[in-house]
Amino acid sequence: MGSRLRAFGAFWYDFVIGDDWVIAAGVVIALLGTYLLSRAGVAAWWLLPLLIAVVLPTSLWRATRSR
């Protein structure tokens, strides 16, 4: 039972988080920031493009550095 639960958890971790947790964490933080800025009445559309411009090179750098 325990191993099945672990396998189930590992499947979802691999499915959602994937090879680099930084991407998922960055997306969550940027969406939270977008929500908070929007609630405060500040234009926040630029935050996710900024996330893409920062997280993608960072993740690639992490991948090539570890090889």
Partner: protein, 269 residues
């Protein structure tokens, strides 16, 4: 059709084509190594199971408030898109081995053949008219169901968000029929389909759509509304191409294909 409808069609078509390539490769391996009737029965049963899942999931998805759906789907698409793009860039720049459908086909073939030897006569005793070989059936069923679920997810999320599930379904059907037709025609690994190029493009589309919907779901308003995609998609594409070019010039490439830009994915994907 409007520009938005074309963008939806293209995104769904490309994303579903990638999934179809993977499913078709598995079915071809199962059919070649084991038994075509079992492989095709497995495929048919998996498609029937998918139809039931769509019938159950469809209304459930449409009942979710659009705002919340956009936030959830946008977040998932953004994560998936960035992951796809990351892998495609690493492969295109030679820092990661290309996704070789030939190798996958050979591995599936060898596995299926070794299972056939081990099963021996006990396998023959369990034969049924529709499924002479249960291993071939299971292999096909599993491959088609898993990849098919991803196709369903793509259709429901993309189509649901754009209020055009019908168009998304047509795009998915076109992609699946095209790839399946190619598979039937060649009955060989789909290595000639440039999967990495496809993944590169799909990664750009998923990332762009994810950013658009995610931000809207979180309460932001894009300048130009959906037309912002016309800037987002080329911008993400340029960023990805730029990063690929930089990575090609730097670092220690581990699997760069000789004399062949990996972006073409020729011979492997």
């Amino acid at each position: 059709m409007t520009a938005g409808a074309w963008a939806l069609f293209l995104a769904v078509f490309l994303a579903c084509a990638v999934e179809a390539v993977e499913a078709t490769t598995i079915v071809l391996a199962a059919g070649t190594a084991r038994d075509w009737r079992s492989a095709m029965t497995g495929t048919g049963v998996a498609l029937a199971a998918l139809a039931v899942i769509v019938a159950v999931l469809g209304p459930a998805v449409s009942a979710i408030p659009l705002h919340d759906l956009r936030l959830l789907v946008g977040a998932l698409l953004l994560v998936f898109g960035l992951q796809w793009l990351r892998k495609a860039i690493l492969r295109a720049s030679g820092h990661k081995a290309l996704h070789d459908e030939n190798r996958i086909y050979s591995e599936q073939l060898a596995l299926a053949q070794s299972q056939a030897r081990e099963a021996g006569e006990s396998q023959a005793r369990r034969r049924t008219p529709l499924v002479p070989d249960w291993y071939g059936f299971t292999l096909s069923f599993k491959g088609v169901l898993l990849e098919g679920l991803e196709v369903v997810f793509i259709v429901l999320t993309f189509g649901g968000n754009q209020h055009n599930v019908g168009l998304a379904t047509i795009a998915a059907a076109c992609a699946v029929l095209l790839i399946a037709g190619l598979g039937v025609a060649v009955r060989a690994p789909l290595a000639r389909v440039p999967e990495n190029t496809l993944k590169f493009v799909v990664g750009i589309m998923l990332t762009s759509f994810g950013a658009l919907w995610g931000a809207e779901g979180a309460g932001a308003r894009w300048p130009g509304s959906d037309a912002a995609l016309l800037v987002l998609i080329p911008a993400v594409g340029l960023l990805a191409l730029g990063l690929t070019a930089v990575l090609r010039r730097t670092g220690r490439p581990a699997a760069r294909p000789a004399g062949n830009p990996a972006m073409t994915g020729q011979g492997a994907a």
